[in-house]
């Protein structure tokens, strides 16, 4: 059996991944495993497999770009190896790879749950702004003007915050 990646060498590593009740099989040669950064001594994780394949396509397309997070210094290969990111900003730096992994793990790529009530720090977020606007609309409709005024101030504050982070 030939390697699924290089289609040249004999595949000696056979990975099985269960996804949505279906078993996906991946056959690789040792050389490709090395290039993908799969450590054969340690148990192989889904992240290894998904990212390994993902990054190989990125490399083919972009001629092997070297990504590194500016904030925490995590490299693409370190991320690929552990499947873990180093800081909140890595989610932007490795957006493509992270989203690929996230979709494979969760079969979704959009958060629909709790949105933090913003404290004194952290970037304002669109979802909470949307919630605030909705709450404002409701408050006005129900003639709760005091609440509406409070919400209006909060929205202004958030919008100001957003403008300053986008210009920064």
């Amino acid at each position: 059996m030939l390697c699924d990646r290089c289609h040249k060498n004999q595949a000696t590593v056979h990975l099985h991944q269960v996804e949505g009740g279906k078993v996906k099989k991946l056959h690789l040669c040792e050389g490709c495993c090395g290039e993908l950064g799969l450590d054969l001594e340690s148990p192989v994780s889904v992240a290894d497999v998904m990212l390994g394949m993902g990054i190989s396509t990125t490399q083919e397309r972009k001629g092997g770009r070297r990504l590194k997070c500016e904030w925490c210094g995590l490299t693409a290969s370190a991320f690929k190896k552990t499947g873990r990111v180093g800081c909140p900003r890595c989610y932007q730096t490795f957006e493509k790879e992270v989203l690929q992994l996230v979709r494979a793990l969760h079969r979704h790529d959009r958060h629909v749950g709790k949105v933090p009530r913003r404290g004194r720090s952290g970037p304002p977020c669109r979802a909470s702004l949307r919630d605030l606007r909705e709450a404002l609309r409701k408050a006005v409709a129900e003639e709760r003007y005091e609440e509406a005024a409070r919400l209006r101030d909060l929205i202004n504050e958030h919008e100001k915050g957003q403008a300053s982070t986008t210009t920064a």
């Binding site: 990111v85 180093g86 800081c87 909140p88 079969r107 979704h108 958060h111 749950g113 933090p116 404290g119």
Partner: protein
């Protein structure tokens, strides 16, 4: 830690063994008192927006984060009376004890400076600081109470967020060190006792079914542990694309179905093969009440059978709570804490067997029937 074993209520002296078949199927009609669900747990993974995740922080930074979060968390009204401790200040035995209490993870035992725990004495709320994420907030409630646990966790979560500001993205939700937790950062899990399904060999299709719908089934001690004492943890895997309330209520519904399967399995065992069931339970009693050496796994497995026996009315004279307590106390670190020193594996097995006999047959142990020491 309970060191006053002598204050343990004395059990009625009649032999436990005589009382099987005493009762009918009363347990079948009391679906809520089946004692299938032991506890519900909600865990939230959170990170500060201002720092890299713990693994990419220097020990000094981690220390700084621990100091900040410790102050914030202890300032929450619910956690005023919580204990807080840094991992480096603990012995291996203490850490193992906390692990057995489900207050810390195995990975957390290995962490260095700046890793700390804030927890309530009763273990209902615990917060690991600088584990894989800056904050791992956990709420555990007895019985099937996922929604309440989520609500309690969310309130504490708001309190911490207001003070420190979490890393959050409108698209991916709460940002975590491992993308497998991103989104809600929430893992809900329910600890269940499933001796009926194990005995009737129905566990495998159930595990397969649960896995198919995105749930994970693990043993007593979570990730990678084997199922001792027929105790399993069922938990959600997906943290993105579903709301927290939805995740909690979905898991609750599924657990209720598993409970139903378990109850049915027990009923079938009872109706089809009462002798086999009796034999299974009374053998366990036999071993537990006479053995001089018991490994943890052995003790947990046999105690699980006794638990089933008590629930089915096959065994009498020992309470569910005594058994629950024993299952906890017979674990290695608990035993060593009770004795007050480190014990070798053989010594632990001996102490464990003694502890179990003491609870199951207090008269024999207190009276003349003490074993001659053979070593």
């Amino acid at each position: 830690m309970n060191t006053k074993r002598d204050k343990r209520p004395r059990r009625p002296r009649k032999s436990v063994v005589d009382r099987f078949f005493a009762r009918g199927h009363s347990w079948l009609t009391r679906a809520d008192s089946q004692d299938v669900v032991i506890s519900s747990r909600v865990r939230l993974a959170r990170n500060l927006a201002t720092h890299p995740f713990p693994e990419r922080c220097t020990p000094e930074k981690r220390k700084e984060i621990w100091d900040t979060l410790r102050t914030v968390v202890l300032g929450l009204p619910e956690l005023e009376k919580a204990i807080s401790v840094e991992m480096t200040a603990l012995t291996e035995l203490d850490k193992l004890f906390l692990l057995e209490r489900h207050l810390i993870s195995r990975d957390f035992m290995e962490t260095g400076e700046g890793a700390g725990l804030v927890a309530l004495h009763d273990g209902r709320v615990s917060i690991m600081v600088n584990e894989e994420d800056h904050v791992r907030l956990q709420v555990v409630l007895p019985g099937l109470e996922l929604t309440s646990a989520w609500e309690a966790a969310s309130r504490l979560d708001d309190g911490i967020d207001a003070a420190v500001g979490y890393a959050f993205s409108s698209r991916l939700g709460y940002l975590t060190a491992c993308p497998s937790n991103v989104g809600t950062g929430m893992r809900t899990s329910v600890m269940v006792h499933l001796p009926g399904l194990v005995l009737s060999q129905e566990m495998e299709p159930i595990v397969r079914g649960l896995t198919k719908i995105g749930l994970t089934v693990r043993g007593l001690r979570g990730e990678g542990s084997e199922a001792a004492g027929n105790i399993f943890q069922i938990s959600n895997q997906v943290t993105l694309g579903e709301g927290e309330g939805e995740i909690a209520s979905n898991l609750s519904q599924i657990v209720q179905e598993v409970v139903e399967h378990e109850v049915n399995a027990r009923m079938r065992l009872w109706q089809k093969n009462p002798v086999i069931l009796q034999d299974h339970i009374l053998r366990a009693y036999g071993v537990l009440s006479h053995a001089r050496l018991l490994t943890t796994k052995e003790a947990l497995d046999f105690l699980s059978s006794l638990r089933l026996g008590v629930i089915l009315g096959i065994l009498d004279g020992v309470g569910i709570n005594d058994l629950r307590k024993l299952m906890e106390e017979c674990q290695p670190a608990h035993l060593q804490k009770a004795v007050g020193r480190r014990l070798s594996s053989r010594e632990r097995d001996f102490e464990r067997a003694r502890l179990v006999r003491e609870v199951l047959r207090p008269e024999e142990e207190a009276g003349g029937a003490t074993p001659r020491e053979v070593e």
